[in-house]
Symmetry: C2
Subunit: 339 residues, 2 copies
DNA sequence: CCATGGAACTCAAGCGCTTTAGTCGCTGGT
DNA sequence: ACCAGCGACTAAAGCGCTTGAGTTCCATGG
């Protein structure tokens, strides 16, 4: 900046004003300064900026999952690439970290906060009992929760926006469709019991089942892995009166499930219908192809990031709903037959 | 720090020395200062640190792939989680960005460099003609290339380490095994032609084929998607004399391929053997299970990150080889039958 | 008994930017 | 002719840390 000031024949302050679109310099000088800066290929040092009170121009994202269970999902990278689209517009960096559990995640937030490393964070995988909201409140670190915290509609958390998928409505849609097809015995092979959305889906299933008077409707929680998905599928189908439809909380388990079912000599979709709560290439690699709930994960990321930038700009925290995912019917669902 | 200095009854410099394990303070004072710092929950501001000449304690990783093709691979997140393990030990942050293409990637490096945002970078997906190495040289930004640049064994790039998988040897191993099983017609459904390792695999296949006098051995490049994998598989099997073995450059295409093959009424592994160059849960979701080349991607990430920290510590650039991946033989490979 | 040296510690500058409190010169009103 | 007021610009402090050049004090050797 000193260079620029010298070459443009002004003071450093003038340069700062000019380059930050602040009043205090004439348009002529501003232009001149801009030109010199451009010519010199100048970029502000984030460190210096951060030091003098501006933010660090960085937002954080930490995902707390064991390495093994990370790869299976296509969810995260999609989400991140949506987030990036928005952050890139504002030249915001994304500080990314993967840790083992929520405790470690909280430690990371604390550290980032103390080190002034991030201006805000994106929180994923909200839990039924989540310490993170409170921590962020305490630190005064703006954040947006991707997928909603339990119970909090507007949320008692002043600095926390939420971007939520309406899991209840989505579950209702699936159950509605299966009911329409004549299914009266449904099993839901859910994900991690600690996650808030797992809880919501389970609850919604029960409500819908009651409302429609289904003969059977229960949920079993898993760790999202193909292994557990397969094991639970086997167990469920060996019941004396097996279900006629199974809802899987992700694509990996659905695919694993469909393989197991075939192995048992049971036909999909004649004997049992299968729905995957997550669409991906995987859903077209099975035989038959998987009927799946298809949400636009990239858009989800975009929305979340936009919410965060709004917060950083001083906007108030709020809760936004993303569009309801659509049920893409492929070969794995069909009318229930008398059985 | 001022606080700490005051409470410990010393100057700020003493605090700095003490907390950075630099000589110039007695052990007693050092301990006292440490205790006070701890008690106050002090963490150095990265901004201030960076400003006064230390690095930014951050490394960068940018992946240049369209959003759509990101999710299919389990590769990246695995890699990243390996990287993180090592970075976490040193409290280094990972600045992550996904962009559309290499040009944009270069722009990001330039920006990061100008803004002093990162101390070094990890470069993935090296290409046959890669502008990035030269750029990093020019900027003097330390980097480690994950997967090796073409041709450069030691590399003429002073600040660039390389962590390479020995693709040639791996290909040789696969071809060797298939040859042993009696296969004489092999097709290799490769990935993106611009990637350096694609090139190396193709070249290695040709060499091995010549050495062993195979009747047919050729490669077809794709974009790694299930769609192209499926399309190419169909085309290849409709040849007048179809291959008896197919090698796919990733798990997604292999799975898609095996589905297509079944659809054509051809039996795996009786009529055609299938090998996947990448192991994942997906390889156990197909029927039969996929024989796959299994590398430890998490370890790969760890090694790369360690190489980068070595570089940041002032070590010299070097090229390290990761262990040869093993071929896990599952149901998709078998002896070729007379044909 | 003084010079010497080294260990322990302090001073102050400086990293690159922002920002507050000016200074300067001009216009317009009286 | 004089001052208020405004726009354009400068001076300098400060953000939190590092660091090289001191300063002080004590132990040691001649």
């Amino acid at each position: 900046m000193k260079d620029i000031a010298q070459r443009a024949g002004v003071s450093e302050s003038a340069v700062s004003f000019a380059l930050n679109d602040r009043p205090g310099v004439s348009e002529i000088t501003r232009d001149r300064i801009r030109r010199v800066a451009e010519q010199l290929g100048w970029r502000p040092s984030t460190a210096a900026r951060a030091l003098s009170g501006e933010g660090s121009a960085t937002v954080g994202l930490v995902v707390a999952r064991p390495a093994a269970s990370l790869g299976v999902d296509s969810f995260f990278l999609q989400l991140i690439s949506g987030i990036q689209e928005v952050l890139a517009e504002r030249q915001l960096g994304l500080l990314f970290q993967v840790v083992e559990d929520v405790t470690a995640e909280c430690a990371v937030y604390r550290r980032w906060w103390a080190e002034h490393r991030v201006d805000g964070v994106l929180v994923v995988d909200p839990r039924t009992d989540d310490p993170r909201a409170e921590l962020l409140d305490e630190l005064g670190l703006p954040g947006v929760v991707i997928g909603a915290l339990p119970g909090s509609d507007t949320g008692p958390h002043p600095g926390l926006s939420q971007v939520r998928a309406d899991d209840a409505a989505a579950m209702a849609a699936i159950v509605g469709r299966l009911h329409e097809l004549g299914h009266r015995r449904i099993v839901h092979i859910a994900g991690l019991p600690t996650l808030a959305h797992t809880d919501r889906r389970i609850r919604s299933l029960r409500i819908e089942a009651d409302r429609r008077g289904l003969a059977e409707a229960h949920s079993v929680t898993t760790d999202y892995s193909d292994t557990e998905g397969a094991a639970v599928t086997r167990r469920v189908l060996e019941q004396s009166v097996p279900p006629t439809a199974i809802i899987y909380d992700n694509d990996v388990m659905a695919a694993a499930g469909i393989a197991v079912i075939a192995g048992l000599g049971i036909s999909v979709p004649r004997d049992v219908s299968v729905v995957s709560w997550e669409d991906s290439a995987l859903c077209r690699l099975t035989a038959p192809w998987l009927t799946a709930l298809s949400r636009d994960t990239v858009a989800f990321g975009r929305i979340a990031a936009r919410e965060l930038t709004a917060l950083l700009d001083g906007g108030a925290a709020r809760t936004v709903q993303v569009p309801l995912p659509g049920l893409i019917e492929r070969g794995s669902t069909a009318p229930a037959h008398g059985g």
